[in-house]
């Protein structure tokens, strides 16, 4: 909590503290996807607002953001991938060849791969409906893969993002085999009989 408050500008700290302690807290969840031609600033409010930090207008997005990933983290966690589910861009609703357009959008990797994404929260004053303090980040990362599938009567666009520390601690040659282990640690004979054992290796935790 202390670090959380330190990130807020000093003049808002008391107010933010007060808002967080109330029985009902007005909070928006926002998603920024930095596409090359058309970056989006979305929120789960149906009325746009302008944040006090960057001055971006976070719009409703017309249902573009459909599903949020489960955000987890902490010690002993690899930084996992996040998968967002996106709806269809609004202007395509009555386009004849929207399916082809979607496939083209997914194929155009230069538009999104390696570009910023961020999931934020923002507190609001419940009386004035105005933002209080700066947005706070839940997850920051870069966009990686986009896939589209067409189940009957629908369409699902999934966008995978990864943190800057994604798969931190996973060795480049990630197999727990004798040869990989020798490559990492030439004198280590610990995995010599792995193939014969045919079991998942679980390291003891003394």
């Amino acid at each position: 909590m202390i670090e959380f408050m330190q990130a807020q500008p000093e003049e808002y700290r008391d107010q933010v503290m007060d808002l967080l302690g109330r029985g009902a807290v007005q909070m928006a969840v926002m998603l920024h996807l930095d596409f090359v031609t058309d970056p989006v600033w979305l929120s789960n409010r149906n009325i746009p607002f302008t944040d006090l930090k960057w001055g971006h207008t976070w719009g409703a997005g017309g249902g573009l953001l459909v599903g949020l990933p489960e955000v987890s983290g902490g010690d002993n966690q690899l930084a996992p991938f996040r998968e967002y589910r996106l709806g269809m861009p609004n202007e395509w609703i009555d386009a004849e060849n929207w399916a082809a357009d979607l496939v083209e959008m997914v194929g155009n990797v230069g538009e999104y791969r390696g570009r910023d994404s961020g999931l934020y929260g923002q507190l609001f004053d419940p009386d004035s409906n105005q933002p209080v303090g700066h947005p706070f980040a839940f997850d920051i990362g870069i966009m990686d893969r986009m896939t589209v599938s067409f189940p009957r009567g629908g369409v699902i666009v999934s966008l995978t993002t990864e943190g800057f520390m994604a798969r931190k601690g996973v060795p480049v040659y990630g197999m727990q085999t004798y040869f990989d282990q020798k490559r990492r640690h030439p004198t280590d004979e610990g995995l010599q009989f792995v193939t014969e054992a045919g079991k998942l290796i679980t390291w003891t935790d003394w």
């Binding site: 009902a24 807290v25 969840v29 409010r45 149906n46 009325i47 409906n129």
Partner: protein, 236 residues
């Protein structure tokens, strides 16, 4: 964009025009001390239940045609609401003056006198209330929940009455001579001079579920009154 289909007010029986604000909120559940913290955000939207009952034959065929044009949930319905809680002008001037309490004598005279019957020095009184739809006085940004209206219908709009701007529906929370506080907050910025619909407030809605489309198509077969659930549309 989707086609907007106007739905004739004659199709809907007035008593059944229910519109209310729905929202989503989340809570991790009550704590061990029984207290609970609720997280909410501004995502209120209008939800409606439209009952189609006792339709005239012409209205029946219209309902079926509307069903065909709706194409499931693809297209949008524009509903005109009955705003009987507030003063409105339905086309008959005499009825309007009577409904807002202007005595027939004053109407005949063309102006309203002071309560003790006195007039201004030149014999004139106050102008009769105008019945034009009100307008917005100054530019207002999206997200605001207060607006200044001009025109008799706007300045005297009743608490709890509906009004709409560009087919976005709002309900009056408070009114001091046209300075109106309302819910939900403005969906879209409005500019000075924009018309406010008070007599016939309108709202654009989409069917909530594909199941709500069936009644339009099956009305003739089923016969009994049908209920359709709708949800507000934000595209313009």
């Amino acid at each position: 964009m989707a086609t907007v289909i106007d739905i004739d007010a004659g199709l809907l029986r007035r008593a059944h025009e229910n519109f209310w604000l729905d929202l989503d909120d989340v809570s991790p559940g009550p704590g061990l001390d029984g207290r609970e913290q609720v997280l909410f955000t501004e995502n209120r939207r209008w939800i409606g239940r439209l009952d189609f009952v006792r339709m005239r034959p012409a209205a029946l065929s219209q309902a079926v045609v509307i069903g065909d044009r709706l194409r499931g949930r693809a297209n949008i319905l524009r509903i005109t609401l009955c705003n009987h809680r507030t003063a409105r002008y339905l086309g008959d001037e005499a009825a309007f003056f009577e409904s807002v309490g202007v005595p027939a004598d004053d109407v005949a005279r063309g102006h309203i006198l002071f309560s003790d019957g006195a007039s201004f020095d030149d014999g004139a009184g106050f102008a009769l209330p105008d019945h034009d739809e009100p307008t917005v006085v100054a530019d207002v940004a999206a997200g605001a929940s207060a607006i200044q209206m001009d025109g008799y219908l706007g300045r005297s709009i009743a608490v709890g009455a509906f009004f709409s701007i560009n087919d976005f529906l709002y309900r009056v929370e408070f009114n001091i001579d046209g300075a109106v506080t309302f819910n939900p907050p403005l969906r879209q910025a409005v500019t000075a001079g924009a018309q406010v619909d008070v007599t016939y407030p309108k709202v654009q809605v989409r069917l909530q579920d594909k199941a709500d489309w069936r009644p339009f198509c099956e009305y003739f077969r089923n016969g009994p009154p049908m209920t359709v659930n709708v949800i507000e549309v934000f595209d313009r």
